[in-house]
């Protein structure tokens, strides 16, 4: 299996993500430059976190016009796995590969801390190795992580079991106090209807080694690799 990690101008979790695949999971991984337009040979593509184009205008708004995005849309529509983390999630929303929007946190501050998320749906390729209800600990680090969508969209997300992760407390309770940014229904991650595109705000690549305080994140990548 070969994984590609996209570098947009301003991506800053590109190397972190690459490192987990290469040095922790020992998977074939390479970088994809934002002007590339050939995704042949890749089995999965990750849009990493960061501040593509400085987050100017809106987070993800400019990156979604990168040449590579045209190819990624096609790649995803063919059913291949695409995962957007943090800024990557924001780009997927701007590109309309996933529904909804991420608006500034309700506290109007950048927020960096460890959070707990609950696996709500383990029926996607990204969560198939995880038990439903399992609680994962990993960091968030974002200014615009407040998931918003209109009522109809939220309802269809629920009906189609597209909500994959919800912010919760350490015991797995999905409570308002455990919501770090004001997201509707404590949404931390969603998939498309087909289940091959995941967007999530927390950073699994920052929770993939013991020395960093949590290895929960690596479980998501392992699921993706089918290594479970």
């Amino acid at each position: 299996m070969r994984v590609g990690v996209v570098i947009f101008p301003g991506s800053n979790c590109d190397y972190d993500t690459y490192y987990v695949f290469k040095d922790v999971l020992k998977v074939d991984v390479s970088f994809i430059w934002h002007t590339d337009s050939d995704l042949r040979g890749y089995d999965a593509v990750i849009l990493p976190g960061g501040f593509s184009y400085g987050d100017y205008l809106r987070a993800g708004a400019i990156a979604r016009f990168s040449p590579v995005m045209r190819e990624i849309v096609r790649f995803a529509k063919r059913g291949n796995p695409v995962m957007g983390i943090c800024n990557g999630f924001q780009i997927l929303l701007e590109a309309e590969l996933l529904p909804g929007a991420l608006i500034p946190n309700n506290g109007m501050r950048f927020r960096c801390e460890d959070v707990y998320i609950r696996v709500v749906n383990n029926d996607s390729i990204f969560t198939r190795g995880l038990d439903k209800g399992r609680v994962l600990k990993m960091p968030i680090a974002h200014y615009s992580g407040n998931y918003y969508a209109d009522e109809g969209t939220i309802k269809s997300l629920e009906d189609n079991e597209q909500i994959v992760f919800q912010y919760c407390d350490s015991a797995g309770e999905v409570l308002p106090e455990a919501n770090p940014n004001g997201s509707i229904l404590n949404i931390a991650g969603i998939v498309n209807r087909e289940g091959n595109i995941l967007g999530m705000m927390p950073h699994p690549e920052r929770a993939s080694e013991k020395v960093l305080g949590s290895e929960d994140g690596v479980e998501i990548f392992k699921s993706l690799m089918g290594k479970v």
Binding site: P9, N12, G54, E113, A141, V211
Partner: protein, 745 residues
């Protein structure tokens, strides 16, 4: 293009540029003629305090600046460079951005982060962590609150976007910083030895290139044109505040590191203060070369800029790069790939002068060596006078103050004092986990970063108690080093080297110069004893608010090396039943303490005493025990004394607060036992079966170790019969203090 009419250079104009008459005469002598307006501007910025260190360098030279692991001597390059083995070196430096932050806190702090990042990556090092040492007036004043809030947001805005984690630092609030906040930013980077880049220009015919953002009229100093001539144009005030662009910085960082690996790169330097003037003259002087540059080639943001303006502009996110002749196109390719300007503006020459052209006309010629620190820039030794306030303020008798009746209440007050209370309101706004190296996040003393591809980790910390330095400049300087060293030792690191930021008032005030000189001596003595050479740093004078100068504030940035990530030690109590051991001595020393200030409203007495040799033995003992694997937690005594150290060790456990029962004995008063900020004290916990080993290690290192209590699982902190308190309540007060003061903007 119409030729710009420039003011005639006179002594008066030189004085307006901040030069002295003596300095102006020296310029006439160097050039053998009168400088033109552009040249005068260049001399004035290069000989400014900021670039030349003219009032501090003579004193700074007394600091220990060499050591076996130092790869460059202090001041030789843009930042210090320390060998850490495995073919790796650490580049690190701290710098102040106090005055810009006082005017425009968000951009002032942001561009402070940007400048120090560039100092690191122009050496070829990838920045892996930043730290911030901040000082503000009390949060009860709305302006202070505004400054605090916006400085923190500015740091977050810049550092988060570039993707360098902010992992440690400190924040203090004192009246003296009202209107004159301190914003000192440190960055740490890692470089493989073979890719270290020097800020040197040499090799005749090699290309001089400007890369990064276009040049605008930002931050031009001394632009006090003979003002009566300016009417229409004076409306067009030159902006003195620069706006940072972290996005461009990130691109510049990646492009520079790509370039650093190319054999054709000769040298690279950031354009910070004094922009093109500083980078061209310093790089030339280092290489004993000259340069011919053409300002008409510099990409400009605004039309009609004069040579004076282009030479003095402080537009951010620019660098000067020198590459071997014939590699100009390859260099351009790298920067263009990242969407950045890269333009050749001149050549290196073998002759000494820096020759400046614009539109085919020579607009300046100055021998570079004469402009720079270590070359022809002036050096002054200022007069000192023993400060008149010191005697009075040190005359303090503990019997003047009553002993508190309710120590639980005192402890609660102290733990919610903004200087001690939880700072997560601050660091939660910083991305501290990006780059996936952060093994110990902010809030626990030193920040710890593992080094990928090795078993090693770095511990980094800034420290500096202005109150101590105010009471006793020498001790204050020494303690700043000792405390920073102690903090990295507590994580399991051996202190390696320091960088420093010296924040003082007006150096022409003899009492302030006394503070400066003595604080530097204290710092130097401590560095010699701990074998932590000074790799470089920054001096910020003229920190004065309308009410007077700030406390003399020495901020030390310490670098420590952890040999194996297995040794990483945290400050919180872990297991019920562990023995709590005090390594060091408790003395009755309340001078300058947070207790005196918060509970009795006094800033009095002498700073705590310190025996540097003893302090070093404490470090040795604790490190040895940590490396033996017997230390379950380690925390040092600092602000708030032993009681606060114990309270923090109870409440910092991420899985929830612990308890402890502690018995202290001694002939001091109870408040002295609990709250003296005694130096050279570390509280560790060990399992019962390791008690003997711990004692052995302590006695081998000739330091006292006293078992003072045990860790409890019942969430109560008990000290003698004085304190008996629910640690969950302590935790609540500790975490609520700053957010509640910042509520409602």
């Amino acid at each position: 293009m119409e030729k710009t009419k420039e003011p005639e250079v006179t002594l008066e104009l030189a004085l307006e540029h901040g030069l002295t008459e003596e300095e102006y005469r020296k310029i006439l002598e160097i050039l053998g003629r009168k400088p033109n307006y552009t040249e005068l501007g260049i001399f004035s910025v290069m000989w400014s305090e900021h670039c030349s260190y003219k009032n501090s360098i003579a004193v700074l030279k007394t600091l220990p600046r060499t050591g076996k692991s130092l790869l460059v001597k202090a001041g030789e390059e843009n930042a210090g460079l320390v060998d850490i083995g495995d073919g790796l070196a650490v580049a690190f430096k701290i710098e102040s951005h106090n005055h810009p932050s006082a005017i425009e806190p968000f951009q002032g702090a942001a561009t402070g982060v940007g400048g120090i990042l560039r100092d690191i990556f122009t050496m070829g090092a990838r920045p892996i962590a930043s730290l911030d040492s901040l000082r503000f007036g009390p949060l009860t004043n709305p302006r202070n609150k505004y400054l605090f809030d916006h400085v923190v947001q500015g740091i977050a805005h810049y550092g988060n976007c570039v993707g360098v984690p902010t992992v440690a630092g400190e924040v203090y609030f004192e009246e003296c910083y009202t209107g004159n906040p301190l914003v000192n930013v440190m960055t740490v980077g890692i470089v493989e030895h073979e890719y270290i880049v020097s800020a040197t220009a040499k090799g005749e015919g090699n290309a001089v290139m400007i890369v990064g953002s276009a040049t605008g009229r930002d931050g031009i100093h001394g632009a006090t044109f003979a003002s009566e001539e300016l009417t229409e144009e004076s409306e067009y005030r030159r902006p003195s505040v620069q706006v940072g662009d972290p996005f461009t910085e990130k691109l510049l960082l990646e492009a520079s590191l790509e370039l650093a690996k190319k054999g054709f790169l000769v040298g690279m330097q950031d354009m910070g203060a004094a922009g093109i003037s500083c980078s061209t003259s310093e790089m030339s002087a280092r290489g004993k070369s000259g340069m011919i540059i053409d300002l008409s080639k510099v990409p400009l943001r605004e039309p009609g800029m004069t040579p004076y303006e282009i030479m003095l502009s402080e537009s951010q996110e620019r660098m000067l790069v020198v590459v071997k002749k014939g590699f100009e196109e390859e260099t351009k390719k790298i920067f263009n790939k990242w969407g950045l300007n890269c333009v050749e503006i001149g050549k290196v020459t073998n002759t000494q002068p820096l020759e400046i052209y614009m539109n085919g006309e020579k607009v300046g010629e100055i021998p570079a060596w004469h402009l720079v620190l270590g070359g022809g820039a002036p050096v002054y030794t200022r007069k000192t006078k023993y400060p008149s306030y010191i005697e009075e303020i040190r005359a303090f008798d503990i019997d003047e103050i009553p002993e508190p009746e309710d120590y639980n209440e005192v402890l609660l007050k102290l733990i919610s004092s903004p200087n001690i209370a939880d700072k997560s309101w601050v660091f939660r706004q910083y991305d501290y986990s990006v780059m996936t190296n952060t093994a110990l996040p902010p809030g626990y003393g030193a920040g710890v970063l593992r080094i990928k591809g090795t078993r090693k980790a770095l511990a980094v910390k800034t420290d500096g108690n202005g109150r101590y330095t105010y009471l006793n400049p020498y001790r204050g300087g020494a303690i700043a080093v000792a405390e920073a060293a102690r903090n990295v030792v507590c994580t399991g690191a051996r202190p390696l080297a320091i960088t420093n930021c010296l924040n003082f008032g007006n150096p022409y005030d003899e009492e302030i110069y006394y503070q400066f000189k003595n604080a530097v001596h204290g710092m130097g003595d401590a560095c010699r004893v701990f074998d932590t050479p000074v790799t470089g740093g920054n001096v910020s004078f003229y920190n004065e608010s309308p009410d007077g100068p700030i406390y003399p504030t020495v901020v030390v940035g310490m670098l420590g090396l952890i040999k194996d990530i297995f040794h990483i030690t945290t400050p919180w109590f872990k297991n019920e039943g562990d023995f709590i051991i005090l390594i060091g001595n408790i003395k009755g020393e309340l001078g300058g303490s947070e207790y005196l200030k918060v509970i009795h409203g006094l800033v009095k007495g002498d700073a705590p005493s310190i025996d540097l040799e003893f302090e070093r033995r404490i470090h040795d003992a604790v490190l040895e025990a940590i490396r033996k694997g017997i230390v379950n937690s380690a925390i040092d005594i600092s602000d708030g004394g032993l009681a606060i150290a114990l309270a923090e060790a109870c409440i910092k456990n991420p899985s929830g607060p612990m308890g402890a029962s502690v018995y202290l004995s001694g002939d001091a008063r109870n408040d002295e036992l609990l709250f003296s900020e005694c130096q050279s004290c570390i509280v560790v916990t060990v399992r019962e079966d390791n008690l003997l080993e711990m004692e052995k290690i302590a006695s081998k290192n000739m330091v006292p170790s006293t078992t003072i209590g045990r860790v409890k699982g019942d969430r109560r902190l008990r000290i003698n019969t004085l304190i008996d308190i629910d640690t969950a309540v302590l935790l609540r007060e500790y975490t609520a203090a700053i957010p509640s003061m910042m509520k409602g903007g």
